[in-house]
């Protein structure tokens, strides 16, 4: 949502008073101290600790076994594959669906009240995760779920007897979508607000069609926000643990679930391996962030 507005609103500040620049700069940095402290304690230090502990065997000695295991043990490779696919699918799915929904309520000419309702709902739904969300889906779409029984009552068909099950990667994707698309709506709605009517009118005055407007005006403006939100949704799904665990335990093979089993289970106990698995996730997130930054740069080049 940022860059568009910033491009316009920050320009007047170019001539801001330059009194006491040094003190201002110090104060600016000082205000950032809590943030950096927070990032240090909850992001940097844990990451460093994860890195080093990835090379720790159960007895505390140094080993490469954990790292090797990630690439060789079939369960681990599969877990990364399914974690990546569920995150990609729900991030892209959530982005497309959420964008269309946000477009409909912001620019679609629907009643104002609907927009308010949608934004409020999204605010709640995007934070509805974990045990309650998992149970909600089980209670509605599970074997004895409300919707399941309702369909059976109306059509006489027991969808579970027909082979349907929500305890699959597809089922879990549906659950994730429930918090994915509202987040997209929440972030895209203000960005769409930033599209000014005048731009469209200008485009039309110059003889542009709707395609031209979207291709050359609206889409480039929205692209940085779209990319940013999609990567956020990806991370949101990639790191989700509580929802997946409450939903189907380790019966669905995901990386965070495997980490949990190594760290706090009653059966397996190899924190080093858990850390190595986490390191893999950090690297994947790091690479996708780098990809995002470079795409963002290109997408936002016109703003400079």
């Amino acid at each position: 949502m940022g860059p568009v507005k910033e491009a316009h609103t920050t320009q007047p500040n170019g001539g801001a008073p330059k009194a006491r620049p040094r003190l201002n700069a110090i104060l600016d940095w000082l205000a950032l101290v809590p943030f950096f402290l927070f990032a240090l304690m909850f992001l940097v230090l844990p990451s460093i600790s994860i890195f080093f502990r990835s090379f720790e065997a159960v007895d505390g000695s140094f080993t490469f076994e954990n790292i090797i295991a990630i690439f060789t043990v079939r369960d681990f490779v599969n877990a990364y594959k399914s974690s990546l696919s569920i995150s990609l699918i729900t991030a892209i799915g959530g982005a497309v669906f959420g964008f269309l929904l946000a477009y409909a309520v912001v620019l679609g000419g629907l009643p104002r009240a609907l927009r308010t309702f949608m934004v409020t709902f999204s605010g709640v739904a995007s934070n509805f995760a974990g045990v309650p969300l998992a149970f909600a889906f089980i209670a509605t779409m599970g074997n004895a779920g409300l919707v399941t029984r309702w369909i059976e009552g109306i059509t006489g068909v027991d969808i579970h007897a027909q082979g349907f099950s929500i305890y699959t990667i597809t089922g879990l994707s549906i659950v994730y979508m429930y918090f994915q698309f509202p987040l997209m709506v929440l972030i895209m709605a203000p960005a769409l607000d930033g599209l000014r009517r005048e731009w469209r009118e200008a485009c039309e005055n110059l003889g542009g069609t709707s395609w031209h407007y979207w291709r050359y005006v609206a889409f480039p403006i929205l692209l940085p926000s779209l990319l940013g939100t999609t990567i956020l949704l990806f991370g949101n799904a990639f790191g989700a643990y509580a929802t997946a665990y409450a939903f189907s335990g380790s019966f669905i093979n995901l990386v965070p679930i495997l980490i949990g089993a190594q760290m706090q289970g009653d059966v397996l106990f190899n924190p080093g391996l858990g850390n190595a698995l986490a390191l893999g996730m950090i690297i994947i997130m790091g690479v996708s962030m780098l990809g995002y930054i470079s795409m963002q740069r290109r997408a936002a080049r016109w703003t400079r």
Binding site: D75, G130, V131, N143, A144, F247, G249, A261, G265, V267
Partner: protein, 389 residues
């Protein structure tokens, strides 16, 4: 994260299932350590480990006046009543340390208080059997054979630990949803249980579920322990392929809601669920005909116990018929169950609340090594065999 664990695995709070997790580490330690240490040398009359005549023991314990316990929640296996009865019967005070501690914490508490006779040093412990190897390797436990030693079915031959109670895996059947309760493991493959069979834990995280796999295999292998793990995975593959298995962790909420009408769980947890659900839904507990697997807990005396006589008196009480029946009241099967059933000392009203005694007659106990080997095999092959991944 912790809320997840709590809600889905609250039963593991006292590490009933921690058995095999530490079994690996402890077996290793056992192999490296130079054998178990002798109990504290300044108590010569305690070193033989033989049962002390009860009157002498009571007199000695009274001079100590106190017992320090650890990790005994009052709502677990009826420990509340057991402690209360012990107190009034012998006029001792009981200092209860951290009731919610896990097995590893109990051993750590002994180790940390080796040189202290203060109130933080536990006299007696109650740990998952897998932890006993670790306790012995580190020399944290003293040997003692209670008067009822011979009828204890699972114990260390030298008396460093003994099982006090166990649970057996049982089918917890919701009555309106399931008309015919399954009677044995193979029944779970029947088409009538399509989409109905669930485990109460997660194979990678809870020993209960590992044992659920193992027990089914034990039934299929006709009791051959060497084939049980492999055949158990094969069995669950078939349950899954038949569409009978619901891959969700069953808990009281899901049982009440009807999502998991047929759950495999330790019997005492299932029986406790039956009581708290109070008929909504009606729960029937069936112990399978074959493949009855026991999950035992082990007792021991700290080698550094500040009150060694009170500690021994505690075990004499707990392992007596009276103490053992108190476990049964909390639905935990006392280790001397078969002996007491044979002698007819189990009150009829107590027995009526439990599945029939014959069901437990051939319960299988695993050694620490067997448990460890089975756990490794099952957790490593679970996904590839059962889900074909």
């Amino acid at each position: 994260m912790s809320s997840v664990k709590r809600s889905t695995e609250n039963v593991t709070r006292r590490d009933f299932l921690k058995v095999s997790a530490v079994a690996g580490a402890s077996a290793l330690l056992a192999a490296c350590a130079p054998g178990a240490a002798e109990p504290a040398a300044n108590m010569p009359d305690l070193t033989s480990g033989n049962a002390i005549p009860l009157d002498d023991l009571i007199a000695a314990a009274k001079t100590e006046g106190q017992l320090t316990t650890i990790a005994l929640p009052h709502d677990w296996a009826n420990y509340g009543e057991i402690i209360e009865t012990f107190k009034t019967k012998y006029g001792l005070t009981v200092n209860e340390l951290n009731p919610d501690a896990g097995s590893a914490d109990e051993l750590a508490a002994i180790e940390a208080n080796k040189d202290s006779k203060g109130p933080q040093a536990p006299d007696v412990i109650d740990v998952g059997v897998g932890h006993t190897a670790n306790a012995m390797a580190k020399g944290l436990v003293a040997k003692y054979k209670v008067a009822t030693w011979d009828s204890i079915e699972m114990k260390d031959p030298d008396g460093y630990w003994w099982a006090e109670y166990y649970g057996a895996l049982a089918f917890e059947v919701s009555k309106p949803a399931i008309e015919n309760s399954p009677q044995d493991w193979e029944d779970l493959l029947k088409p009538e249980y399509k989409g109905k069979v669930a485990m109460a834990g997660d194979v990678l995280k809870s020993n209960q579920s590992v044992m659920t796999v193992y027990a089914a295999g034990l039934s299929r292998a006709g009791g051959d322990k060497t084939k049980a793990a492999e055949m158990g995975l094969q069995f669950w593959k078939e349950v899954n392929d038949a569409g009978n298995f619901i891959p969700v962790i069953a808990d009281q909420g899901k049982i009440a809601q009807g999502e998991t009408p047929l759950v495999i769980e330790w019997d005492y947890l299932a029986l406790a669920n039956r009581d708290s659900l109070a008929g909504n839904p009606e729960i029937e507990i069936v112990v399978p005909k074959t493949g009855v697997i026991a999950g035992p807990y082990a007792g021991g005396i700290s080698a550094y116990a500040p009150h060694p006589y009170a500690a021994r008196l505690w075990w004499e009480f707990v392992m007596s018929d009276e103490g053992q029946l108190l476990y049964l009241k909390g639905y935990a099967h006392p280790i001397r169950f078969n002996d007491m059933a044979k002698r007819g000392v189990i009150p009829a009203d107590l027995a009526a609340k439990l599945p029939p005694a014959e069901s437990y007659a051939n319960a299988t106990f695993l050694t620490v090594e067997e448990l460890q080997a089975a756990t490794t095999y099952i957790t490593e092959n679970w996904r590839s065999v059962v889900f074909g991944e």
